[in-house]
Symmetry: C2
Subunit: 177 residues, 2 copies
């Protein structure tokens, strides 16, 4: 546990297509709407930390705030929240390491880190403890990358791999230090 990434990606490491679209995530048929372990994962975390772009994407779904856990939105530009989100969402701003200390102090220990920019920033500072990556069997050939440049390689250990719906390979890794 600690800071956890849980994300779907194409075989070539994109989390959204060239237009920012997510339709390709439906390339694998899921007739029974299996939640792929999502609810169980959410139960195990204390809060969500996401970037502004991801926040606005979720807002754009127009279904209210869909997460059952307190959400912190990293942003230096967002000044206030849309009405109705005040209890569930909080804007935070500043250096990532300091933000983490503050959240941990407030009792939020197991954090779901979401959004490409935010994930890449956490990784570049070696602040991710677990990676849960669900690979879909598609090459997008372009789009929003999950990973970015790192100052040095980061070694993980493999915890578990599960094949979901016969098509998706979900692997869980823990940072090896």
């Amino acid at each position: 546990m600690g800071n956890i990434v849980y994300i779907g990606t194409s075989l070539d490491g994109f989390i959204a297509d060239r237009n920012g679209g997510l339709e390709w995530l439906e390339a694998v048929p899921n007739p029974d709407n299996d939640d792929l372990g999502w609810e169980k994962f959410l139960e195990g975390i204390d809060a969500i930390v996401m970037g502004r772009k991801t926040f606005q994407t979720v807002l754009g779904f127009g279904v209210g705030w869909p997460y059952p856990k307190k959400t912190f939105v990293l942003s230096s530009t967002l000044e206030h929240l849309p009405a109705g989100f005040e209890g569930e969402v909080e804007i935070i701003n500043g250096a990532v390491a300091g933000i983490l200390r503050a959240l941990n102090f407030r009792g939020y220990k197991n954090l779901y880190i979401d959004g490409g920019t935010t994930i890449r920033q956490f990784l570049s500072e070696d602040l991710i403890d677990e990676l849960i990556i669900n690979r879909l069997p598609i090459l997008l050939g372009g789009g929003v990358p999950l990973f970015g440049e790192l100052p040095e390689p980061l070694l993980f250990e493999h915890v578990q791999t599960t094949v979901l719906l016969n098509e998706m390979v979900m692997s869980r890794y823990r940072r090896k230090k």
Copy 2:
């Protein structure tokens, strides 16, 4: 079968580090020198097609030609082979689709496609039938990428995933058309 990629990559999709190095492939201990299915894979193919850079990397190992199958080296600049390789290695030159027709006509149907540039070229022309990808639990953060830009997404179907040495996740995919 058909045109097959069989390759090891980092979690972030690199097949060599920033210096072209492969030492990180040894990040996973392999005390019994398990060949990870390599010999069996080589038995099932008719020939190897690789790019010039990969060819020169293999030559650099200085152990003679290590593959048990006929190898075709794609190159427009290489004019002749080092002495002793004439029987095992052949230089080919031209457009990929034409080369494939010629090799198939000569009876080489199941081809192991190797080398980053060559793999990316085959994928960009949708000429790969199978991908066998072995993911090591490391983020390199830079290096030689396995995948490149594609004119359009390519859908695959998942065939099988095996965890090797408790650390590597080897998945096999077949092009879905």
